[in-house]
Amino acid sequence: MSLLSVENLSVAFGAKRVVDGVSFTLDRGETLALVGESGSGKSLTALSLLQLLPRGGINPTGKIQLDGQDMIGAAPELLHKARGGLAGMVFQEPMTSLNPLHRIGHQVAEAVTLHRTLSADASRDRVIAALNEAGFPDAERRLDAFPHQLSGGQRQRVMIAMALANDPALLIADEPTTALDVTIQSRILSLLERLKSERGLAMLLITHDLRIVRRFADRVCVMKDGVIVESGAVQTVFAAPAHPYTRMLLDAVPGGRPDDLAPDAKLLLEIDHARVHFPVRRGLLRRVVSVVRAVDDVSLTVREGETVGLVGESGSGKTTLALAALRLEPVLGRIIFMGRDLSVLSGRDMRRMRARMQIVFQDPFGSLSPRMTVGDIVGEGLAVHEPGRDQTRRVIAALEEVGLTADQMGRYPHEFSGGQRQRIAIARAIVLNPALIVLDEPTSALDMSVQAQIIDLLRDLRVRHNLAYLFISHDLKVVRALAHRVVVLRGGKIVEEGPADAIFTAPREDYTKSLMEAAFDLDRVTTPLSL
């Protein structure tokens, strides 16, 4: 008999069914991947297994058998035992899934002692063993660390240690690496695979990333709108996808190359020895004890119509540099935009200049005010810089240019999908006819298929308006599809810089090489245990 069997499972909020008749089974030692775009119901399916649905969600039909026991309608005691004991869970967001107020040793110990009574010493040993097993470096001495003192990868290892502390038979991993940098992603996934084979774990892997599925899963279920549209062994499904949706997912890889740049393009933005330093203050007198050099002596140029890709892992200073270039962050050094030194401009002149330099943020949910209509959001800049003059017409023109329609002007952001919201954010940026747009990870919060569309749109807009992009991303595939030139940042410094083709075909620096490997060739990554 299978360890986990799900039959005809549904999840409903009120009358709305968001998961509809899902069935699958999972055996020990097997990895099943649930794949789908956001909103396909894959996370709700996983939460149903341990009856952890958010408030208002119910399972109207279905049967979930975990190790021979029915989970739907199970007694609270049984559920307590199953949660963490029989099945462990690892969530997507390592920032928020650990309690920021407790030391990590304490949090792992809590997971250990919930299911058995142990003396303090025994529990401590068990915690250290669990952390070591999860590849957490130097576990014995870092039990007293708080989550904010750890990197994203380390936090995810703590989560894995907690999930596996009680030797569960099933591990549910809900997008375990989505929030992590590429190089760390592959290490975490290899760790999960090693643990799985050592312990004979069954693993339910929820992801939107098909590369991960291809590399780590045995079987795959493709979900769309709450229904499993296709399932089977990974090789068969990937080799011969039967359902059009699966085929669409497999094809939706951002591709293409940027169009050629005019060779005589003028210099638009020049960043000259920019430094952004954040002082670290300690003690009663708030004395500066050290300085975080978020951007450390970076020089960079962008020509008209050129796309410069800023690449680096999180914490490399790429967003800070971009904000500094727009003078949204205090910066030392000269920033020359369209021939004028921004650092000496007055508040009013700077505000006028902002019409020519725009920004599109990563999170399409956070960057649009939830209380304004789309028309107001897009028109806000016009109202500041060019009030009166046929504002509505220009807003409509901008919306149509990004693929939205005029009748959507009166609606609110929450009525749109992530991709549509990102289009609104782009419309807001282009409505003022800027010369430069900073794109801060504009695609990383989006589904694969939507990413490709947004990239096509950006490429199209660049040609039509001769826009220059400063394109920030950790996703090298996207960068390759857009950038003329690539700048690799690490720790606030430029590691490598050059034409995109040169960087992608023949990276000189080791750091760049490791980034490339992690991004384009998940299988080939060597997996050292420490971070």
Partner: protein
């Protein structure tokens, strides 16, 4: 008017809270009625028909000699039995249901004041022979109006102060915070006593004085919201568009802060109502003779043999505060984003 979906949802949750919703309507009706207290409790008739002419004493002052030569050319005293007889002889008049204002002395009491409840004085009279029901109606109006104005003004000042602190942060925030700490250490009551020995504080003096010390209530909440809000991406996006600071604060951050603020306001309101009553009870509030719930409590304390004073004061103050708290709870729930409407 097209309501934003979030507003609709909040209204639905507010309506879904039966207790708060009913409290809201009861309060609204009581307060609305008390605004027209002169039509319910007054020592002047609503309407007089005298000698083929109409008189509206509630709205217009008439002199006594208009109703016959026996009366003096001063303001007509409609409680005078001979004037009542004189008008009755040549016409008629309509009285409000209760024939007393808050400052009318009841003349024909059969017992020494405070008189117990009777048909003419449903809640009895106080120790100065004034009708308690009339005083309660006017006192309720005054307390609630005072509470509304004080809450409104303190909220506006508090929100502006909190917004400036949170939005600019840094040194502005630091200095402002220290100032608030010093300012909130001022002994409010002593200052009020000193003020009371210099001038007789009226409605507006008292209001401005309390405003000086009460505006800090909301600054903390609003400051926190603005500190958080100034780093939101859509606020950054607006700054990147070149929108001015004031517009960014008003259009992008303030709506977020208003959720926390509106949740607080009903509780501030009930606090302000209690505050005025407290000051009146201690004798530092409105000038003597004003209709006041606090003064009624003070009378009840000194006239324990007249329990109708204490019971009335308790029921009215308790009732008002209960209604406001119920409304406040419903408002708070309505603004809680984690709450679902319906079952």
């Amino acid at each position: 008017m097209k309501l934003a979906p979030v507003t609709k949802r909040r209204l639905a949750i507010f309506r879904g809270n039966r207790r708060g919703f009913f409290a809201f309507w009861i309060f609204l009706v009581l307060f609305g009625a008390s605004l027209f207290a002169e039509l319910f409790a007054n020592d002047r008739p609503l309407l007089i028909r005298y000698d083929h002419a109409w008189y509206v004493p509630v709205l217009v002052d008439y002199s006594g000699d208009q109703f016959g030569d026996d009366f003096l050319p001063t303001d007509a005293d409609y409680t005078d039995p001979s004037l009542i007889d004189a008008i009755g002889a040549k016409g008629w008049m309509i009285w409000p249901p209760l024939r007393y204002r808050y400052d009318t002395t009841v003349r024909d009491l059969p017992v020494p004041s405070p008189a117990p409840p009777s048909f003419k004085n449903p809640l009895g009279t106080d120790d100065q022979a004034r009708d308690v029901l009339a005083r309660v109606i006017y006192g309720f109006r005054l307390s609630v109006l005072f509470g509304f104005v004080l809450t409104g003004l303190t909220s506006i000042v508090g929100v502006i102060a909190g917004a400036l602190q949170g939005f600019y942060g840094g040194l502005t925030d630091l200095l402002f915070q220290r100032f608030i700490e010093v300012w909130s250490g001022m002994p409010e009551l002593y200052l009020l006593i000193i003020l009371g020995s210099l001038i007789t504080p009226g409605f507006w003096v008292l209001l401005i004085f309390l405003l000086l010390f009460r505006w800090m209530n909301l600054t903390g909440v609003v400051r926190a919201e603005f500190l958080r809000g100034r780093n939101l991406e859509y606020v950054r996006a607006a700054k990147a568009l070149g929108v001015s600071d004031i517009v960014v604060m008003w259009r992008h951050i303030l709506p977020n802060a208003m959720v926390a603020t509106l949740t607080y306001v009903p509780f501030l309101l009930s606090g302000s109502v209690t505050l005025l009553s407290t000051l009146d009870f201690l004798g530092f509030g409105m000038p003597p003779g004003s209709p006041s719930l606090g003064e009624l409590v003070a009378q009840a304390k000194s006239n324990l043999q007249a329990p109708w004073l204490g019971i009335t004061a308790f029921c009215v103050l308790g009732g008002v505060l209960t209604l406001l708290i119920f409304i406040g709870e419903a408002v708070r729930d309505a603004f809680d984003p984690r709450r679902f409407s319906g079952p």
